[in-house]
Structures are given as C-alpha cells and as structure tokens.
C-alpha cells in the first residue's frame, strides 16, 4: 500500500511495517543533472581526442565513431549507471539522490531504460521546462519519464546521529537507575526538543548567563513534564546537569 505525505512516499508493507522515502526536491535534481551533463561532456571530449588520435582509421571512420559514441554515451550514460549503481548516476550520487520504484520495489531494467529514453520530452521546449512543470504539480515529484516508468527520485539524507559524548560529563548519572522513565521520554519527546536541547548545551558559553539559566530552566521543565524522575535522582542537579543527564540516558546504547 502506498500513500503520499508532504514530500515523502510512505509505503506500508504486507507485513504491516511502514517506511517512508523522502522525495528529492527540484534544486537537487537540477544540480545533479548539471553534474551529469558535465560528466557526459568530459567523456565525449576524451572520446573526441581518442578518435582524433586514431588517424589510422581515416577521417570518415573517425567521424562515424564520434557520432556513434556521442549517441551511445548521451543516451546510455543514465541507463548504464542507474543500472549498475542501483538508481544512481555520478550527479545523483554526489547529491545523495536515488531513483527507486514508486511502489518501493526493486528497480527493473525496463524502468531505467524507459525513464531515460523519455527524457527528450521532459526537456521540451528548453531546459526541462515541461518535465519541471509536470513534477511541480505532481505529488510524487515525477517528471514525464518517471511517470511512465513508475519511478520516483528520492533524497537519501545523511542523518547524523547527535554525538552525545560531546555533552556528557564524567559525573555519575543519577537518572540511569530509572530506565522505564528514560523509555517514556523516548516515546514522548519530539526529535525537535532533543535537537534544540543538544544545541543549547553545546553553545552554553555563547549565552548571557542569565539567559542561559532561563533557557535551561524552561527546557528542563518540558522534560520534567513528560517524565517525572523521583526527587532523590534530581534534587541536587542544576537544570543544565539535569538536561545533560536526560539526553545521556535517552541516547544510551552500545
């Protein structure tokens, strides 16, 4: 089963598991395309030099080879690389994009060939205006070639896991004795809170002392509202130390 949420393709498997694939935006796709055009240009320039170097075969054959290579490279570049690199070309790899099946299934050769062969119509009248307009109004951000082939281009974000060792102290963590409360926090606390708290702790020296105390008090209050640790675990902790301990117990894993 497939559903589309804001800029993501959400797929529910027959086993009942749901996962989502973030769709690639137009700017990244455009940059990837420019990079791929550059690669095709480099390949063709190299082939041009090689063909000229083959003066043994004569100008006629050299010219024919150049025409054929140009056609094969310009048409086959995307087909070959997307097949060998599972939906990626040089440009897509650099921009962390990938072509995938719109149903989340394995990408098939016919899909790769079709989406690349239909590229000319997306480029009409100039600069991918038609394909760009179609993908702009399409929920899955598909150009015409993607629509025909049943593919989507996704963005594989590099999700950096916060390095909580940067805020950890060598002190004993009094909250670690309450794993069930840490589990409750994990269930209730939105990712944005964690990110904000992490940044607030990292930038502690950039705040005015009074503002820092106020900020930490407010953040600590939010965490306390979600999971109320016993007074014995928190009574001697400053708000700042409380936040450090909370993040540490939430992130604890081997």
């Amino acid at each position: 089963m497939r559903a589309i949420e804001a800029d993501a393709l959400r797929i529910r498997t027959p086993e009942g598991v749901t996962f989502s694939l973030p769709l690639a935006g137009p700017v990244r796709r455009c940059l990837a395309m420019i990079l791929d055009l550059f690669c095709v240009g480099v390949i063709m320039t190299t082939i041009g030099y090689l063909v000229r170097a083959l003066s043994l075969v004569g100008d006629d054959v050299a010219g024919a080879l150049y025409y054929l290579f140009y056609f094969v490279v310009s048409t086959g570049y995307g087909i070959f690389l997307e097949w060998r690199w599972r939906g990626q070309t040089v440009g897509k790899r650099a921009l962390r994009l990938r072509v995938v099946d719109a149903e989340g299934l394995r990408l098939r050769p016919t899909q790769i060939v079709l989406r690349n062969l239909l590229r000319p119509v997306d480029t009409l009248p100039v600069l991918y205006l038609l394909g760009g307009a179609v993908s702009f109004f399409n929920q899955r951000r598909q150009r015409l070639g993607d629509l025909a082939a049943g593919t989507v281009v996704i963005y594989e974000a590099a999700i950096a896991e916060p390095d909580f060792t940067r805020i950890a102290t060598a002190k004993f963590n009094s909250l670690s004795a309450y794993p069930h409360l840490a589990a409750r926090l994990r269930m209730r606390v939105p990712p944005a809170w964690i990110a904000i708290t992490f940044e607030a702790l990292l930038r502690r020296d950039q705040f005015d002392p009074a503002a820092r105390l106020e900020l930490y008090r407010e953040l600590a209050g939010r965490f306390q509202a979600e999971a109320d640790f016993p007074p014995a675990a928190t009574e001697d902790l400053s708000d700042e130390q409380y936040l450090r301990n909370v993040l540490e117990v939430m992130a604890r894993r081997r």
Binding site: R106, L117, V121, G145
Partner: protein, 333 residues
C-alpha cells in the same frame, strides 16, 4: 514498547549489520540471485528488521536509529517483494525475432493510427504544394530539396558520372543518419506522454514534408528518380518512424484509458515492455536504413539503374512486412 533501548539495540544490531551486508552484496551485482539458504536468511532478517522498526516507530526521538533501520527494511522490501523479472531478458536474437514483431502485432491499432496520420500529412503536403507552389520553401525548406527536381537530378547524375561525390564520407554520413533518425523516433515516441498530441504533430509534420517532396518530383516527371532515391532506405526508415509513433500512441493510450479501473501507474507499467520492444526494433531498423541511405540510395544512374534501386526498395519493404506480420507467431514471448 522498548523499555531498555540499550539492550534492544545490542540484541538487534548484529542482525541489522548482517542484513546490511547481504543487501550490499545484492546491490554490488544487480544480476545476482541468492541461493535458497541466503534467500531464506534475507527474509528472516527482513521480518526481524521490520518488527524492530515497528517498535522504534513508537519512539519519536530516535530519528537517526529509526531512519537507519527504515532504510534497511525498505531496501530488503524491494528485494523480497519484487516478483517481476529484473534481468535484461532473453537473447538479442530471440527478442528481435519474437518479442519485437509480437509487440508490433499486439499494438497494430496504434500502428494504423500512426500510419494514418503520416499519410494524412502527406496528402496535406501534396495538396498544399498543388494549391500554392510558392509555399515549397516553407514546406521543404532545407538542403537539396530546395532545388527544382530537374536541377537536382541533372546535377547529381552529372556529378556521379565524373566522380564519387560520397567518397570519404559514406561511413560518417551513415552514422549521422542512424543516430539522427533514432533520436527522431525516440522523440516521436516520448511525445506520446503529451497524451499523444506531440506524436500526432510529429507524424503529421513528417508526412507533410514527405507528401510535398513526392508531389514536387511526381508533377515534374521524375517519379522514377524519386522512387529510386527514396525506396531503398525509405522502405525501412518510414516504417521505423511509424513504429516510433506507434510506441508513442501506446503510451498515450495508457494515459487516456481512464475508464479502466486500474490506476495510471499500473496502466503504464503494463505497456512498458511493448514500448521498449518497439523502440528497440526501431533502432535496429534505422541502423539498416542509415547504411542503405549512405552506401546505396545516394548513387543514381548511370552508376545504379533506377529500376534496380526500386526493386531493392520493394524487396526490403516486402521482407519487413513479412517479418513484422509473421515472425515469432508460434513462439511464446
């Protein structure tokens, strides 16, 4: 609910890593198929990863961990649930002699539409030139076609009696024709995605040029020259462009058939193999047409008798029609 995340991750991580390794091996070689033992293991790891993902979904703060497991499960899902073929298929010979002609016959209505539009364009081109001969430059305003037929025939026959005007450029001319015509055929097909409007315009426009040129030579009394010049390569090239249009109308048909209960994606997926069979066949035919045009069509009398050229063209046309209508009739695609 995961109470002890630390223990959960410690227990599951080896399975995630094993799944990642297995998927990495599959990604490295797209043609690879797993032995039964590995396939069963992949399925187990996928199910285990899915169960872990379901538990992690209850933890909104665990974005990075969930995304990691999510990516593994999504990749494994694609591998396990894809039951359609993911290989390049059978041999080239079998594809050309079975899959291609069968696709042509399955979609003969689209071919008829394609041919009808081209001939309609040709009729319009001939009519337009008859009504307004001064419009020739607008209708066929390029290359040697701008000359009057009498001028061109006289010039080319005279040049040929003196030297080989194609000497030293036949191979490159042939390659240029092959690649250019293949691009035109691909574009004609791709324009099918504009609900067939683009394909219609492309076929009609090509028909207008063809009709205007044909009328120009026929009314000037150079029918034998025209047939001798066009038939050897045109008997393959024109059907190839029609096949490109046919593929375009197959795509357009999938877009337009809204009354069917299937979703657009399913309709397009169903016609994809036929579109690719047709385009592949077009490319092969245009390679042949390019060679014939450069090495044979450009030679006229006194080097090559027009009757011989016409006979060759008709023979090619007959062979092509026979091939498309009969080849692979009893084979299963």
């Amino acid at each position: 609910m995961i109470v002890d995340l630390e223990r959960f991750v410690a227990r599951e991580r080896p399975f995630w890593q094993e799944l990642e390794h297995l998927l990495g091996r599959l990604d490295a070689d797209p043609e690879r198929t797993l032995p039964m033992e590995d396939a069963l293991r992949l399925h187990y790891l996928y199910q285990r990863g899915g169960a872990g993902l379901a538990k992690l979904s209850a933890l909104p703060g665990e974005t990075a961990l969930r995304s990691y497991v999510e990516s593994l499960v999504s990749r494994a899902y694609g591998q396990i649930h894809e039951t359609r073929g993911h290989h390049w298929g059978t041999s080239v010979w079998r594809w050309f002699t079975v899959s291609f002609p069968q696709a042509f016959r399955r979609r003969r209505r689209e071919f008829a539409l394609s041919a009808g539009l081209l001939f309609l364009g040709a009729a319009f081109g001939a009519f337009a030139l008859r009504v307004d001969p001064s419009a020739k430059d607008s209708l066929v305003g390029f290359g040697h076609l701008k000359q009057t037929p009498a001028e061109r025939v006289a010039k080319e026959e005279k040049e040929q009696s003196q030297s080989d005007r194609m000497a030293g450029r036949k191979t490159s001319f042939s390659a240029e024709l092959m690649t250019h015509n293949t691009r035109v055929a691909i574009l004609t097909c791709a324009l099918g995605m504009t609900w067939g409007f683009g394909t219609t315009i492309s076929l009609f426009y090509n028909g207008v040029i063809l009709g205007a040129v044909a009328y120009d030579y026929v009314q000037a009394g150079y029918t034998r020259f025209l047939l001798g010049w066009l038939l050897p390569h045109g008997s393959v090239e024109i059907p190839a462009i029609l096949l490109g249009g046919q593929a375009g109308f197959v795509l357009a048909g999938a877009l337009l058939r809204r009354r069917e209960r299937r979703r657009l994606g399913e309709r397009l997926r169903q016609v994809t193999p036929d579109v690719l069979h047709l385009l592949g066949g077009v490319a092969i035919l245009l390679v042949w047409a390019g060679m014939v045009e450069a090495f044979f069509s450009q030679y006229h009398e006194p080097i090559l008798p027009y009757d011989l050229k016409i006979a060759v063209g008709l023979l090619e046309l007959f062979c092509l029609l026979f091939f498309l209508s009969r080849a692979g009739r009893h084979a299963r695609d």
